[in-house]
Subunit: 227 residues, 2 copies
DNA sequence: ATTTAAAGTCGACTGCGGTCGAGATTTTAC
DNA sequence: GTAAAATCTCGACCGCAGTCGACTTTAAAT
């Protein structure tokens, strides 16, 4: 027996993550060097590599810690009585708001989650499983309420919605969407289309239509301008 | 006047891209250092940075060169008489096949295109405009044929399909999809759902249903296993 | 208690992307 | 033709992520 070693490892690990939370929050991910992180955590640099395979993996661990808060906030915000579309949009926007709070940090995170490197693959999976589970719950309830056809393939639908979330995030980083309000409009349009087909917008309330048309106009103008 | 300087710049630029095509193709992107690239191009290292803001921007230029071939091949492959779904799947798979030809290269590319850094933003836009235009053509034709409701919002639909493409690419890198055949099945399922709503699969031909169910099973087992 | 194996820790070191300032080359001005 | 300004080119240099091999601490074996 010997919890001694185990205990120390736990401590060290915690020290590293704590230091990461502090430094990443204070100065951002890219501005924090592994040397600094090591010094702040009170360990040698390569000790960190005994716990994490790469700097990005430290980021994901950091996110895991932060995500607890984010999800809790999300749960409080999402109204289970609201319409499916509203709930989905709320979820996606919650996630997006959290991720883009710090722009460059969000970019690294999004890249690592969407196209993980071999080293970060497993950890990134863990994280998005949580997100997908949340979506699954929302969809499951909607299905029970009859707001979704009983024969829907939930998993495929989750994937579909996940795709839309990634896209909206992508447009924020490509510069096509420049504010969270616009992101929300875009989200809603996409979700509507996903749930009700290509003609969804045409059948939607007039304010949704207007929102989308505004966005569309902005997009076209901006792309033209940059040529 | 003085084409002299201009000419030289053109030459130098070409030399860099040629060297990049050669080296990236031979040994991959990450395995090629900027020093090597400079030596191969016969210029000083920081000269490259006069032409490209970052190593990733060289990659995008390289892609621009290669993409010509890819698109041409795609055009030959996509049958304009085929059904909309078939055409869309063919397009997406063409793109995916090209990008994932070299795994690590594709990852960098996908990351840079989907969540571009400030330095590569403009160039990455150029590239995906081309892809989106292609999609637009396919959708436009389908609309004329009446295969798509007249009141469809084409731009929104393009965005939607683009999202699905990114997702499929993402699942390849996350390890959920492990072969191009599976990717194709996944593509088809998603496109069907996007065009015909959440119950699309249930109404689809039995072989499509079977394909999806197989994929679904694999996914569930694999995710369970890794815990 | 002592030896041996294993696990953990460390900072010096490597190779890379990217910058800097000096020097060469071209363009412009007179 | 020449001086001044602007542009382009270069490799030495910097900071950083990640590795290596030596050293220390803990666990197991006798």
């Amino acid at each position: 027996m010997s919890g001694v070693r185990e205990q120390k490892k736990k401590q060290t690990r915690k020290a590293i993550i704590d230091a990461a939370v502090k430094l990443f929050t204070e100065k951002g991910f890219e501005q924090t060097s592994m040397d600094e992180l090591a010094r702040a955590a009170g360990v040698g640099k390569s000790t960190i590599y005994g716990y994490f395979k790469a700097k990005e993996e430290v980021l994901l661990a950091y996110c895991e810690a932060e995500l607890e808060f984010a999800f809790a906030a999300l749960d409080r915000k999402v109204d289970e009585e609201a319409s499916l579309v509203d709930q989905l949009v709320a979820h996606m926007m919650g996630q997006i708001t959290f991720v883009t709070e710090n722009r460059e940090f969000g970019r690294i995170f999004a890249r690592e989650m969407t196209f993980p490197g071999e080293k970060t693959r497993l950890r990134s999976r863990d994280l998005d499983m949580r997100y997908m589970n949340k979506l699954g719950e929302v969809l499951g309830r909607a299905q029970l309420r009859g707001e979704l056809p009983a024969e829907s393939e939930l998993l495929l639908l989750i994937a579909h919605l996940h795709a839309l979330y990634i896209l909206v995030l992508s447009t924020i980083y490509s510069g096509d969407v420049t504010s969270l309000e616009n992101a929300k409009i875009f989200c809603r349009s996409l979700v509507l289309q996903a749930l009700h087909g290509p003609a969804a917008i045409a059948q939607a309330p007039v304010e949704v239509q207007a929102g989308w048309q505004g966005l569309r106009q902005q997009f076209l103008e901006q792309r033209k301008l940059e040529m």
